[in-house]
Assembly symmetry: C2
Homo-oligomer: 474 residues x 2
Amino acid sequence: MDSTQSGSRLLPDIHARSVPEALIGALRSRFDRQFSTALVVREQHGRDESAFSVPPPDAVVFAQSTQDVADAVKLAAQFLVPVIPFGVGTSLEGHLLAVQGGISLDVSRMNLVLAIHAEDLTVTVQPGVTRKQLNEAVKSTGLFFPIDPGADATIGGMSATRASGTNAVRYGTMRENVLALEVVTAAGEIIRTGTRAKKSAAGYDLTRLLVGSEGTLGVITEVTVKLYPLPEAVLAATCCFGSLAEAVNSTIGIIQMGIPIARCELLDANTIRMVNRHAHLTLTESAMLLMEFHGSPAGVQEQVEAVQAIASEHGGQAFEWAKTPEERTRLWAARHNAYFAGVQSRPGCKAITTDTCVPISRLADALLDSVTEAQASGLSYFLVGHVGDGNFHMGYLIDPNDPVERAQAEQLNTQLVQRALRLGGTCTGEHGVGLHKMDFLLEETGAGAVAMMRAIKQALDPDNILNPGKIFSL
Amino acid sequence: MDSTQSGSRLLPDIHARSVPEALIGALRSRFDRQFSTALVVREQHGRDESAFSVPPPDAVVFAQSTQDVADAVKLAAQFLVPVIPFGVGTSLEGHLLAVQGGISLDVSRMNLVLAIHAEDLTVTVQPGVTRKQLNEAVKSTGLFFPIDPGADATIGGMSATRASGTNAVRYGTMRENVLALEVVTAAGEIIRTGTRAKKSAAGYDLTRLLVGSEGTLGVITEVTVKLYPLPEAVLAATCCFGSLAEAVNSTIGIIQMGIPIARCELLDANTIRMVNRHAHLTLTESAMLLMEFHGSPAGVQEQVEAVQAIASEHGGQAFEWAKTPEERTRLWAARHNAYFAGVQSRPGCKAITTDTCVPISRLADALLDSVTEAQASGLSYFLVGHVGDGNFHMGYLIDPNDPVERAQAEQLNTQLVQRALRLGGTCTGEHGVGLHKMDFLLEETGAGAVAMMRAIKQALDPDNILNPGKIFSL
């Protein structure tokens, strides 16, 4: 396929629908001080971490209950006006941009932890609860929630985008960890999917259909997720390599051996330099794996020995340990902030991020050529990866006002994605499709599967009011 | 809700559609010797392991390729005639019964293992490959496929019903283990969902929508599943208890501790008696946990010690070991054949099986009262359970021609399911809804969620030709 025709979108199509004054009046009357049309509020709800810039939504509703969400959706439906769910705005793919205008439905005030069932290893929260807030709330139970995208995203947003993060290699993604949902449909009806039971064969798996549907099939108003016992022993280590290839090949070996490593993250020398500057660290500026091991003390020791042996075979140096919990926290905070460290390394820039994920044996093929191409381009970039999953991110740091740089970054992105697809992978491991990967999705899964998605969307949201213009065109 | 109004169906509604001679002629002409209307063939495709008896399908197509499936569906679609996918006929819930007549589409001859990617821990198979065949095919790679419903079911059927089995407590169910599908839609189009990458956020999760859709949204023609390294050490043990309550409470303790036990199965004394007779074993006839531990030798030892300590606290006796691989195989074969041991304990009987799954802390509440009720009824029954998942099965052994026994069993089933729902559980952990649990599904998830399922079905199969009459009424 010609990469100039396909590939990710340089700029989104904008077709704002008109928002009648009658709707504005009805929302103001229903929501009073939970409603705003102030430009500053709208603008805050009209941008995310993507490199896109579009006009803000027409108004913002601050929902405080499921009934608020249902009422807002019902009013919007009556006037055929788009509704865009909003958590804390950390999307990287333009998910929350009002490309067809409409109402931003902010659920960040729905931030109650509703029920901790420590005895069942489950917790039920409102969608505005963030992952850090959740972990704080369950800390005293000896349990934790492992899914950790870089930002302190909301559980609702993480569900909607099928997020994962550094622990997914061992604990899975939101796909594996959401047990049940409460959702407001496009008609403003409140439905429930799933139960707190660990498994179920009860009809269509609506829970997993809604997880990752990016707000296009329903507005998530309650989420039940799995929790895990805090491991008895936790060890974090870094390991330096002479080349990226050695680090990647070590990762492949670790996964193929079935070692239950909890985190296995890659940074290149260039990115470590950015991280050191941003977080005032002194990590060795070489290709590096950041790892964490969870288990019993003896089990962790076994894992460490097996991984060190594999790394040594590939030229890895001795592990350096994050010995105290504080050191460990600092190391992972630095990793989680790599995106921001990258963006701040070039004032005024925006990052165009990639998110391919490939079968583990193809990781070196997918990653190394993409790095070579980025280096050859002369564009500034960062490279981080949940490499244990076969998933890595490049962030091309562009001047958003320079169309040449933007086109160059998108060209690199297109080459990288098409390579991953050829290797049996996906265009997005965890960030979602949003505005940016609609063409890639079509290339990845084919017109037949996208037609099936579209049929489902049309059946569940016939007026196309729920976050329209995302994932696929209608 | 009044249990006389709701509850599972005593007998299915039958509304056979007419199958025009023109379709029979077209199928015969296209499929020749892969097509049959012989009564014996139709009858063989018209019964499963459920207690229902309905007229057989009108004809059977033996597909040998995806194109065969597509052509058969297209012809059936042209005449608005039902198509019912058929693997090896081990459904327990009437999934393959032709309640609206039509064509049985037998995919058992599509039994090629298409691609073993040991280096990625994945394998791609045709839908007629059985789980035992799959494990035989990958044996030399040092990998295995853990999902093991009792019967030697096909991977296609296991995908369609979201099956699990004894290893699910550690390795998950088909929900967690299917990565990608090829599917023929109701229009006879061939689509692909998912990739071989471990995770993805690329649009709607069609893979998981189709897994568990019981043949009502598409005919599965190819399945890619995860494989796992054979554990370095495997130990199997039995542990006897003075009461069911002690065995159940031990299980709850094991799971709450987060011990990564690979199998944790319960049988009651009554069922052990049936198993001993059927498999010529001499297991102690008491409440018993059958367990298996996977890991490194040291890791397995740690698990065993932790579990033995918990069991002892609850009055469990010392473990008895299945020391050799042969002993282990014999033990698990006996467990897998418990269903058949139960059915054979009463000549001519049929089993009405239950399949609830509850949050682990509610397992004792769910199970013990149900056993008391079964005992009080005087009906013969067996009890087995994937109790590590909170999932257990009772099989009420009825004379299928005795309406009183049938009604009595269904009444027990209804009480058992309604109890599980009150405890936050599901009516089916792994067998699916089929014909038998349609009313329970409604009770479990509510009219709103079932309406969403129905809307999806109508969007993807507007003429209702794919396995009609299952999961919900239209």
